[in-house]
């Protein structure tokens, strides 16, 4: 009995049922040469899976999950009235569509431009942020004078970087800008850098600053202190925080995280 190449392949692909499957199965059982070919088909499949399956367990780029999380949050708020350019349903005949030209470089540039445009509404202090608190604050960009470490929870690494510890570190891990939680430590906004890393602007009363998540630690990139002795310059209430927000906008590769993105990022441990 002859078995065609197509039949053998269809058998290996599990496409045959009933009498067809039985017929080919019997032929293979009776002919070692056929069995060798079926085995080769199976090994090919295993080789391909072995080559590509590791992708399944690679770390997922957060942009993917965040994009979906953002859309899910949007749905709940806005309903579904604004969908554009629907994809043709699978059941529709596959008409040769005019090629939609979309090269990746241009698409990426466009995404970045959209992100910048979206950031133009700017990094603004949350509405709840105290407007009346008359703190005279001076901003010490990138410097660190006179901050009492026991209050703020900061240590200096051997390379001279400032690392958040204790309450500050916990607050950066756990608190949300959107939550308006009370307490000494508040998050004013959260954002991402061009390399995907997360940063947060915090206000811990005596000090405020911008902290960015390293592998394991929150590194303080900018700090500001309300200790007026640091500077002869007195500022309006909140100006240190406003300066921090401006610095954050300059550092950020897009708009501030919204509530859903912030929650998703927190759930992922602020890892890029």
């Amino acid at each position: 009995m002859s078995v065609s190449e197509e039949e053998l392949a269809a058998y290996a692909d599990g496409e045959l049922t009933g009498p067809d499957a039985e017929r080919i199965g019997a032929a293979i059982a009776a002919d070692p040469a056929l069995a060798v070919r079926v085995d080769a088909e199976k090994r090919l499949r295993a080789l391909l899976r072995g080559h590509l399956d590791p992708v399944l367990t690679e770390t997922m780029p957060e942009s993917l999950t965040l994009t979906i999380a953002a859309a899910a949050a949007e749905d709940t708020e806005a309903g579904m009235s604004d969908a554009q350019s629907p994809e043709p349903a699978l059941s529709e005949p596959a008409s040769p569509q005019p090629a939609r030209i979309l090269d990746f470089t241009a698409a990426r540039a466009r995404r970045q431009q959209q992100a910048r445009a979206a950031a133009r509404p700017r990094f603004v202090l949350p509405k709840w942020w105290g407007t009346g608190a008359a703190i005279a604050a001076s901003l010490a960009l990138g410097l660190f004078f006179g901050m009492r470490t026991q209050d703020t929870g900061v240590r200096v690494t051997s390379e001279g970087a400032l690392v958040a510890t204790g309450m500050l570190s916990r607050g950066l891990d756990e608190r949300l800008a959107s939550a308006n939680e009370s307490g000494k430590m508040r998050i004013l906004t959260s954002f991402r850098l061009g390399d995907g890393g997360y940063c947060r602007v915090y206000d811990a009363g005596a000090t405020s600053g911008i902290a960015c998540k390293d592998q394991d630690n929150w590194i303080l990139e900018r700090t500001a202190t309300s200790d007026k002795a640091q500077s002869g310059e007195y500022r309006q209430a909140g100006s240190a925080q406003q300066d921090l927000m401006a610095a954050a906008q300059a550092m950020a590769a897009g708009e501030p995280l919204d509530e859903a993105q912030e929650q998703a990022a927190r759930a992922a441990g602020w890892r890029k």
Partner: protein, 169 residues
């Protein structure tokens, strides 16, 4: 069922699908960075068009089709951009000498290279059936060709792979 429940489910199922989408993208695009771009654009396109997905039908086939079309658009654009580029320099890589797992690396490299050398239409057929496990009928619908065309592309792709990987397959 109300709209928001259905959309929640859409987003949940899409999230669950992400690892497989990345695998398919890696097979189509060959390059990890391109594959992740392809994935991102596919997810954005799927979300934008999510109203046209019919609840109760297979989401994976629907999203794979979006990804596959997106990729075709991309390679058309590339072909126009770089008519002179040839793939000849691919395939000259050999395993790094001195590596403990060199033998294994060469083998993985062979599979990747053999897959990469397939014409795009054979590679997508191989990916959908042999790696993603779609039935012929489903794979043909995703690509948008008759089933006979799919099986013929698959057959040629499989034959080329078996020829190339004959020693290890």
């Amino acid at each position: 069922m109300n709209a928001s429940t259905s959309n929640d489910r859409f987003c949940e199922e899409l999230t669950a699908l992400l690892p497989r989408l990345r695998r398919f993208a890696r097979g189509l695009a060959r390059d990890a960075a391109d594959a992740d771009d392809l994935c991102q654009q596919t997810v954005e396109r799927a979300l934008k068009s999510r109203q046209s997905w019919q609840d109760g039908t297979r989401l994976d086939a629907w999203v794979y089709r979006i990804m596959r079309n997106q990729w075709i658009d991309e390679i058309r654009a590339r072909t126009r951009r770089a008519q002179t580029f040839t793939r000849e320099e691919e395939g000259t890589n050999v395993g790094r000498p001195g590596d403990q797992d060199a033998e294994n690396l060469v083998e993985i490299g062979n599979v990747g290279r053999a897959l990469a050398r397939l014409p795009d239409e054979q590679r997508e057929a191989v990916m959908l059936v042999l790696v993603e496990g779609f039935a012929y009928k489903e794979a043909a619908e995703i690509i948008g060709v008759p089933q006979g065309t799919l099986t013929s592309r698959l057959g040629r792709g499989r034959e080329a792979l078996l020829r190339e990987l004959g020693e290890i397959a």
